[in-house]
């Protein structure tokens, strides 16, 4: 089964990272791997916006991940943007190899100053599964119970489900069987 590489970039929250890896390993047994690349993020930085250009980061990461045979998720803590938008939670190559997820706007502190690690973990996992779904070719789903539902604001991240709906799960290799085994 195809591997899934989680690649933290300048990522300092080790506790969160470990929880994410552990949770993903439960969803994708024997497929989750941590990896490291030497990505120069400064080229993607916009001083004017104080944000990082996600498309550029993905483009720069492509040659560095040649050796990784599977899907690659870059995990960052800084804020991401694409020029036309004010911000993005993440970006993925639709039906491609790479995606990037930022936890910057997943922190509750970003909105009301209070810390909520559990909420941060839930949100991060949702956004990782969401971008991974795009890597597997999934489009946005209308089902609010599905993690592939579009989320442009944090409330939508919180409202949507934590996993793929029965229809979308068919597009993620290996998961349908896992679910069947779990149900048994």
């Amino acid at each position: 089964m195809q591997k899934i590489y989680l690649v933290p970039v300048n990522f300092s929250n080790v506790t969160l990272l470990n929880r994410i890896v552990h949770a993903l390993k439960e969803q994708f047994p024997n497929r989750i791997h941590l990896s490291d690349i030497d990505l120069d993020i400064t080229k993607a930085f916009s001083a004017e916006r104080n944000q990082y250009f996600s498309t550029k980061l993905i483009a720069d990461a492509i040659p560095m991940t040649d050796g990784l045979d599977g899907k690659v998720i870059l995990l960052v803590e800084f804020d991401l943007y694409v020029p036309v938008f004010t911000f993005v939670f993440g970006e993925a190559q639709l039906n491609g190899k790479l995606s990037i997820v930022s936890v910057c706007r997943l922190h509750e502190e970003f909105y009301n100053g209070s810390t909520d690690d559990e909420l941060l973990f839930d949100r991060a996992l949702k956004e990782i599964l969401h971008e991974l779904g795009h890597n597997y070719g999934l489009h946005h789903c209308r089902d609010w119970e599905c993690v592939m539902h579009s989320s442009s604001i944090i409330e939508q991240v919180d409202i949507k489900g934590s996993f793929y709906c029965p229809k979308c799960i068919q597009g993620v290799p290996g998961l349908a069987n896992i679910l069947m085994h779990r149900t048994k």
Partner: protein, 450 residues
Amino acid sequence: MNTKANILIVDDELIVRESLLHWFLEDNYNVDTAEDGEIALKKFEKGKYDLILLDMKMPGISGLDLLTKLKEFDQNVIIILITAFASVPSAIRALKDGAYDYITKPIDPDELSHVVENALEQQSLKKENEQLKGSIEEIIKPDNLIGESPQMKKIFSLIQTVAPTDTTAMIRGESGTGKELVAKAIHINSKRKYFPIITVNCGALAESLLESELFGHEKGAFTGAHYKRKGKFEMANGGTIFLDEIGSISPKMQVELLRVIESKTFSRIGGNEIITSDFRVIAATNENLEDSVREGKFREDLYYRLNVFTLFIPPLRERLDDIPVLASHFLSKFTNQMNKKIKSISPEAMEFLMQYTWPGNVRELENAIERAIVVCKAECVTVEDLPFHINNNSSFFGSDDMSLAAMEKRHIALVLSNHNWNISRSAEALGIDRVTLYNKISRYGLQRKS
């Protein structure tokens, strides 16, 4: 978001085009891009786009010029402008030129989702609305106006001819032939269809009441006028007024009517205010108006004013082809209404329906079928379910035999039927003894129907 709407992104900046392309692809839209106005126009002429995201500032054709051209090409296309904050006043002006909305760069993703989803939903509702309007326009006949006979086909054709005009129509025909339905058909096929059709049964009201009914009255205009009341002419404003049984109105009302029809102005009874109302007149009668004019009972000028376009509805006995169609229609109507499981009319019962002369026309047929559905206990309407005057005497109604013997035969059959073939009671009712009745039954070959 699984909508397969077609979106065209027009922006000279590659990064903007690609970001938006990517954004919309994730939402499963069909997306295309164009880097300038020329290419956008070429793509637009070839393809069908539901929504265009258009950058206002582009080299060559500006966003605003392109907006005008695209709208000339397709009035329904949704155009959302992308503008820098500084160009907001221009974007607002562009809304007057037909843009749906504008969003400022950098775009809030949530705002973009909302604007695009709302625009597409609105367009979808608009299309649905147009389709519904179209389906309404396809309905040219009220429910009960049914017929496949050449005579009725001609009536339908005449309805379609006269309906779109504002011409006064006169509908002639025996009672029960469906004059009001024809009037409704004319109305719903006219440009006035979104306004009411007001029916006035001129024959049912005394002169003073009819005057108040037609023109309305002010409070205190007469004893009992406790409130101001609009008249039918006022209520028909924008629509149609259907004057049924026009031949029965009094000479005084004829004068009033002629004046109102010609001037479209009137005053309520007891009032001075001149009220103007825009209505179309459709009149109907089962009387011979020409005779009434000759006899001086009906004003000639009003006759000519009303008799501009005349439709004669033939009696049911002259269009036998319509009886099975109408009977089936009424069967379906009443079984649904009464929640009964009756599926058909037996061939014998249909034969009786075809032989009967239907002096009350379609209305009588409708009543006969309703009555049959009420009494029918099986899945098929039989002869016994039909009203007695139809199932027992049908052979006479179609006949021209008006001899005394034929009349006697019919009458005896009727009395026997009324008394469920109880000979003693029937004889008593007929005022003859039982032996005489037996003799007459035998002579006329009368038989009780099983």
